[in-house]
């Protein structure tokens, strides 16, 4: 009993002691008091502002293009980044909203003043200090800049993308008169009026022509608010109105026809009170709806309110067009949909070549005899790789953008199941017996193992960083998996990449081969003898200045020879005068004579004579094999017997089981080249059916993947930014001495709105970043032409960013994420000290990109850095771009604060307990 009393007492105390969590209540709740002349017409001023239309603006056609050049793929009105500036509380979860809150109201009072539930009471609001204590924020100009700083995406699309902040602040100023006195909102129509918001619950989205947004953007939605303007005050005199127009019945007759006065001329003003027809069942039957009171207004109905006024004629036809809100949106010209073939597989027991098409989210089936596409099956976003069960009855396709694998009945040509996998799945393969399906998750660096029959998830294996492709040994005993990223082995340490060896009988990792000096390991294939496998690689010399390109060895490209005894050799495919940029995939002929390697940067296939290659290695000394051959540009002449040109950016390559032909996926030509393996020539090209015209975006994509821009074609943009992301490497770029000012590579995903560029923030535009600067410090060649640069930059801005894996908008944060959010936004330390603004996370990392786009000294300058001020990086999907800080010296997010923030210069964090820091990181991963 005693224990029971104690427990009750404890709970009661806990409830009393827990600070109330403020929630968003919506502007309407604010407007209940902040209304009327004696309150400075604050609510009406907001209703008249662009802020109130912020959300509705997202359904404008131009928003689509803005989304595209922001690297986003979703609908603007759903994208968290768009909502970050076009709605209120975008980073809050569903528990943070009162039922009175409506996202459709755009940028509301609480977007600037903070969630209002705890300070909205009259008793609190009358005491400013108390209100601030309860969460009221009084923002300054900097706060506006979080959204109103110039955004490349908006500049590229809108006519007037920027806002003069000083002017805008004056425009939205809403000072409170002293003394202030609230005027109640006038009554709405009540009765059977249900309000436009109720209509908007259904009449939204493209399926309904965004009708609610069209109304929100129109003058009718502001009809009541406009009565608060000085102009209205002046013009109502002719109606003998002397008091507040917003309260005058004669004004309200035409300025407030809705459930509440503040909605102005709502839907029901024209369509009649909705109570009896607004249900979905009735509305689906127009006759029934009309019988229940739905009015289909004629143009003449406008004349009830809209009359000619002195000096102003009401053009009903023009206005009718202005407010038109058809259910069906006008057709929009679809951008050409390319194919972008990446990887392929021959269906066992058939002549079918299956090709994963990244850009059309599908897999194409090519009849290799007829050399024609015979089917295309839609899979999931960004189809990347394809494999089969040994009997060829089932195909598996990885969908990189949606973290899934499509399971296809190969006979029926139908997707029969979709497997949820890890982050950004790439390579897929089944073992020889068809027991297990292996899926390489390139962003989460792990391998998912499924039962290939039941499709049940079996286990997850730890892979190397950025696992990419798989190859089954001829005896079926083991499977190799390459890794595109080098290991995180410490600041400015030489590269080491892993090839993971899987024991196929147990589906466990049996060994990890470390490939020294290598990165971007992609394709892999076993020699039919089983003596060795070949894997493609880059050898990036990131520890010396990139300007060493002139000496021919900044980035070299070649193969790793993975011997079955575990030893490894490395050879280059470059020649002294011509690089073999981005060796991407490798296939070996069934007789073991040739290995065929694609160079996606140089649009060709190298034919390696395997016997010559192994002879070269075996005849060399240990020292030569370790130090000379891996770096020797002249050795490829000994074993590369031919270089076969193919089309743009060849990626995957497969060899027919009879050894007669090889097939090459020309990713940016939407075709498959056929190589006659007897003649060693490209004998045909199979068109996969993509658009024939080259858009600016596609042109830019081609330039991005081509090594033509670099001296002696040694590398492409893609070499350091594989798939537009990062290679996880810290580079020494400028020729100012070895090790001076090293910088971590940064992702290109969603880059446009994060200017300035470079860690020192010295490049204000992409044009400068990718133009002359690229030429001086990287490519040592003629820069891109104006036209090329324009296309390249456009493509870069459209590189899609994957959805955040730790938080889905509209869902709840985990408890840890929720606690972390509070820490991210906190203003007081654990011991009660006020944190100065610049010591708060959110000061520099403000939503929605979580960057202020300024340079800042966070105490991370090292001895060889020429400055301590660095660009504030954005934090979107920050979890997938380790290492961190300007020079990549923090291997994990934790190290940013546990190691590199001793004096609280990078935010006040040293008072945090370990569990609080864990919570903070859990939240940061959701951004």
């Amino acid at each position: 009993m005693k224990r029971g009393i104690c427990a009750v007492a404890f709970i009661a105390f806990a409830l009393l002691a827990a600070p109330p969590k403020p929630v968003y209540v919506g502007s309407k709740a604010c407007g209940a008091c902040h209304n009327g002349r004696s309150m400075g017409h604050q609510y009406s001023k907001w209703l008249l502002s662009k802020h109130a239309q912020g959300y509705a603006a997202l359904s404008k056609p131009e928003s689509r293009e803005i989304v595209k050049v922001s690297g986003l793929r979703g609908d603007p009105w759903k994208e968290p980044i768009c909502l970050g500036c076009h709605s209120t509380g975008a980073s809050a979860d569903e528990r943070d909203f009162d039922e009175t809150f409506r996202v459709e109201d755009g940028l509301q009072c609480e977007a600037c003043h903070g969630p209002g539930s705890e300070y909205m009471g009259e008793d609190v609001m009358k005491n400013r200090e108390a209100a601030i204590q309860a969460g009221l924020k009084l923002p300054k100009e900097d706060h506006c800049l979080g959204c109103h700083i110039e955004k490349g995406s908006h500049t590229a699309v809108l006519k007037n993308p920027t806002v003069d902040i000083a002017k805008a602040i004056k425009e939205i100023a809403h000072p409170l008169p002293k003394p202030a006195k609230s005027t109640p909102l006038p009554d709405g129509r009540g009765g059977k009026y249900i309000g436009s918001a109720a209509c908007g619950k259904c009449h939204n989205g493209p399926g309904h022509g965004h009708q609610y947004d069209v109304w929100r953007r129109g003058p009718h939605a502001r009809a009541w608010a406009v009565l608060a303007t000085p102009a209205a005050k002046a013009s109502v005199a002719r109606y003998n109105v002397t008091g507040d127009p917003q309260q005058a019945v004669v004004c309200l007759d035409c300025h407030a026809v809705g459930a509440t006065a503040d909605e102005g001329i709502g839907c029901e003003a024209c369509h009649g009170p909705g109570k009896d027809y607004a249900t979905e069942a009735v509305m689906k039957d127009r006759a029934a709806a009309q019988k229940a009171g739905l009015r289909i207004p004629a143009r003449t109905a406008c004349s009830h309110c809209h009359k000619d006024s002195p000096g102003k004629t009401f053009d009903a036809s023009e206005k009718w067009t202005t407010i038109a809100h058809p259910t069906k949106l006008p057709p929009v010209a679809e951008a050409p949909r390319y194919k972008t073939p990446l990887n392929m597989a021959m269906r066992p027991g058939s002549r079918e070549l299956w090709v994963a098409l990244e850009a059309s989210d599908a897999v194409s089936i090519v009849d290799t005899a007829a050399r024609a596409v015979i089917a295309e099956i839609h899979t999931g976003e960004a189809a990347t790789d394809v494999t089969f069960t040994p009997d060829g009855k089932r195909a598996f396709v990885s969908n990189r953008q949606e973290d899934s694998v499509s399971v296809i009945d190969a006979d029926q040509r139908k997707v029969t199941a979709t497997l949820k996998v890890g982050d950004e799945p790439h390579g897929v393969l089944t073992d020889k017996a068809g027991r297990f399906l292996y899926v390489l998750n390139t962003a989460s660096s792990d391998i998912h193992v499924f039962d290939a029959s039941s499709l049940q998830f079996v286990k997850k294996l730890a892979a190397g960083r950025g696992p990419w492709s798989l190859a089954l040994s001829p005896d079926g005993a083991s499977i190799l998996a390459t890794s595109t990223h080098g290991n995180l082995n410490g600041f400015r340490k030489p590269l080491v990449s892993e090839v993971t060896v899987i024991d196929a009988s147990r589906a466990t990792v049996a060994a990890r081969r470390m490939i020294h000096g290598a990165n971007l390991m992609m394709g892999v294939a076993w020699h039919p003898s089983g003596e060795y496998a070949l894997a493609t690689l880059n050898r990036t010399k990131n520890l010396v200045p990139m300007t060493r390109l002139m000496q021919g060895w900044t980035i070299t490209n070649g193969l790793a020879v993975l011997w079955k005894d575990g030893t490894v050799d490395e050879v280059l495919l470059d020649q002294p005068g011509l690089g073999f940029a981005d060796a991407t995939d490798v296939a070996i002929t069934p007789d073991g004579r040739y290995a065929l390697v694609t160079s996606s940067g140089n649009d060709c296939v190298a034919v390696v004579d395997c016997a010559k290659l192994t002879r070269l290695l075996k005849s060399a000394s240990k020292l030569e094999r370790e130090t000379v051959i891996p770096n020797h540009l002249g050795k490829s002449a000994d074993f590369v017997v031919k270089t076969i040109p193919v089309k743009n950016s060849p990626r995957g390559i497969v060899v027919a089981s009879d050894g007669s032909a090889a097939y090459v996926a020309n990713s940016i030509s939407d075709s498959v080249s056929v190589i006659d393996l007897h003649a060693l020539e490209a004998s045909a090209r199979i068109d996969l059916g993509g658009p024939k015209q080259e858009t600016k975006q596609r042109y830019g994509e081609r330039l991005f993947h081509s090594a033509k821009i670099s001296f002696r074609r040694q590398f492409a943009c893609h070499s350091c930014h594989p798939d537009g992301h990062v290679d996880g490497i810290t580079y020494d770029i400028e020729s100012d001495g070895i090790g001076v000012s090293p910088v971590d590579n940064r992702t290109l995903r969603g880059i446009l709105d994060t200017a300035p560029f470079k860690w020192e923030g010295t490049n204000p535009t992409l044009k400068r970043q990718c133009g002359a600067r690229l030429s001086i410090f990287f490519t040592r060649n003629l820069p891109f032409s104006e036209q090329e640069l324009d296309a390249l930059d456009y493509y870069i801005t459209t590189i899609p960013r994957p959805p955040n894996r730790y938080f889905t908008p509209g869902t709840k944060y985990t408890p840890a994420q929720r606690r972390g959010k509070i820490i991210f936004e906190r203003t007081v330390t654990n011991d009660g000290r006020q944190i100065p603004p610049e010591g708060r996370c959110v000061y520099c990392h403000m939503p929605p990109y979580y960057t202020s786009r300024k340079v800042f000294d966070v105490g991370t300058q090292q001895a060889l850095d020429r400055t301590g001020k660095f660009d504030v990086p954005h934090l979107n999907n920050i979890y997938d771009s380790a290492p961190y800080l300007h020079n990549g010296m923090a291997m994990t997010l934790e190290e940013i604060w546990t190691v590199h923030n001793p004096y609280d210069k990078h935010g006040f964090t040293n008072d945090l307990t370990k569990d609080q820091l864990n919570d903070l990181i859990e939240y940061i991963k959701t951004l």
Binding site: V458, A816, D915, N918
Partner: protein
């Protein structure tokens, strides 16, 4: 009253009958032992952790990690120069799905040894609460670490770290000595806070404390855990076994049973660790030898000790405090200070302060049974 008397009278011969044959029944005694020390390739003779994995035996020492091939007896070892993130390995567990080996590093955090690669999590590069890690346990997609500043759990899928301390668990003290997972429950042995049980399905904690709350004496016997300074907890067959510095105990979900040196065959009340083989058999790492309760129902023990003067060992079989058999043997434990134990199949592996002992369980049987007295003297030096 009449009924009770009659019942009692009827029960007397039944009990006598049950006891008579039980007295002849004896437990299995390990008489065949192998020893491994630095001379055999171990990095150090202070053995802090042992974990059997089929044909392989992982050994954590004060100076590194070792792997013994059970078939060949060959020893392979890793020290810091081989990539082991920290030399003192105090706990080992194996992910049953992947075969990855997880290591508790005493001062170095947590490591995963996967096919030759060491991955390292510590308090600076991860959410691990403290680098002084005593024990590690793999639970489904999570790895638990018992540290000197609380327990940490890492979700291997999401990478999320959760810290359990007095803030969010009934952990009066935060010095975690041991962690064990089995059958949907994680058990933490906490120095000064008894045993904490975390139910995976409900995500709820339950604490096992000494209800009499006396630190120096076990005031009310079998009222709960014998002492809150616990060193290990194993949950097998729905039975919880607990080792402490002041005796050991067993909890079957209804009744607690304490075992002390004064009234059982356990060599000492000072216990560093334990390994439960079943709900009826558990092994305890004491400072004075190895104690195995072979049949909990009859309180039948076998205590293995080594005479440091003669370098010979013996096993004493006892029931309650009555010695039933003494088996002399030449070789058993390299040292009487026992720190770690594991069992696998019929065999037992014992980490001591001076090397590893491997008891080969040829003919092992569980519980007790009638058998001739063992007169074997094992003088094998085979390793």
């Amino acid at each position: 009253m009449k009924f009770l008397t009659t019942t009692a009278l009827l029960l007397i011969p039944a009990v006598a009958c049950a006891q008579a044959p039980a007295a002849k029944k004896l437990p299995y005694v390990y008489t065949k032992w192998k020893q491994f020390t630095k001379a055999d390739g171990l990095p150090n003779d202070h053995i802090f952790a042992v974990k059997s994995d089929g044909d392989r035996l992982w050994v954590g020492t004060e100076g590194g990690l070792a792997l013994i091939d059970k078939k060949t007896g060959k020893v392979k070892s890793w020290t810091e120069k081989d990539g082991l993130p920290f030399r003192v390995v105090t706990g080992i567990d194996i992910d049953p799905k992947t075969g990855d080996v997880w290591l508790a590093l005493f001062g170095g955090g947590l490591a995963r040894f996967s096919a030759g690669r060491f991955d390292h999590w510590h308090q600076l590069n991860s959410g691990l609460v403290n680098d002084v890690v005593y024990g590690v346990a793999v639970e489904n997609n999570n790895v638990w670490a018992a540290t000197t500043a609380g327990a940490s759990r890492m979700n291997m899928v999401t990478g999320e770290w959760t810290i359990f301390t007095e803030k969010n668990a009934p952990m009066e003290e935060i010095w975690n000595y041991g962690v064990h997972y089995r059958d949907g429950k994680v058990h933490l042995a906490v120095w000064g806070s008894g045993v904490l049980e975390y139910d995976i399905a409900t995500e709820r904690w339950k604490d096992y404390l000494d209800p009499d709350a006396e630190m120096e004496i076990d005031l009310y016997r079998d009222d709960g855990i014998v002492h809150v300074i616990t060193t290990g907890a194993n949950y097998v067959d729905k039975v919880l076994w607990v080792s402490t510095y002041f005796g050991v105990c067993r909890y079957d979900g209804r009744n607690w049973r304490a075992f002390y040196n004064m009234d059982s065959g356990i060599p000492s009340d000072f216990n560093n660790n334990l390994r439960a083989r079943s709900g009826n058999e558990a092994w305890f790492a004491t400072d004075k030898g190895l104690g195995g309760i072979m049949d909990a129902a009859t309180n039948t023990w076998v205590a293995y000790t080594r005479d440091p003067k003669s370098n010979t060992g013996k096993a004493i079989v006892s029931r309650d405090k009555t010695v039933l058999e003494t088996v002399e043997m030449g070789l058993n434990l390299p040292h009487n200070y026992i720190i770690a134990i594991d069992t696998d199949g019929n065999d037992i592996f014992v980490g001591t302060a001076k090397g590893l002992a491997w008891g080969i369980g040829d003919g092992y049987y569980a519980g007790v049974k009638e058998r001739p007295r063992i007169i074997t003297e094992n003088r094998s030096k085979a390793k």
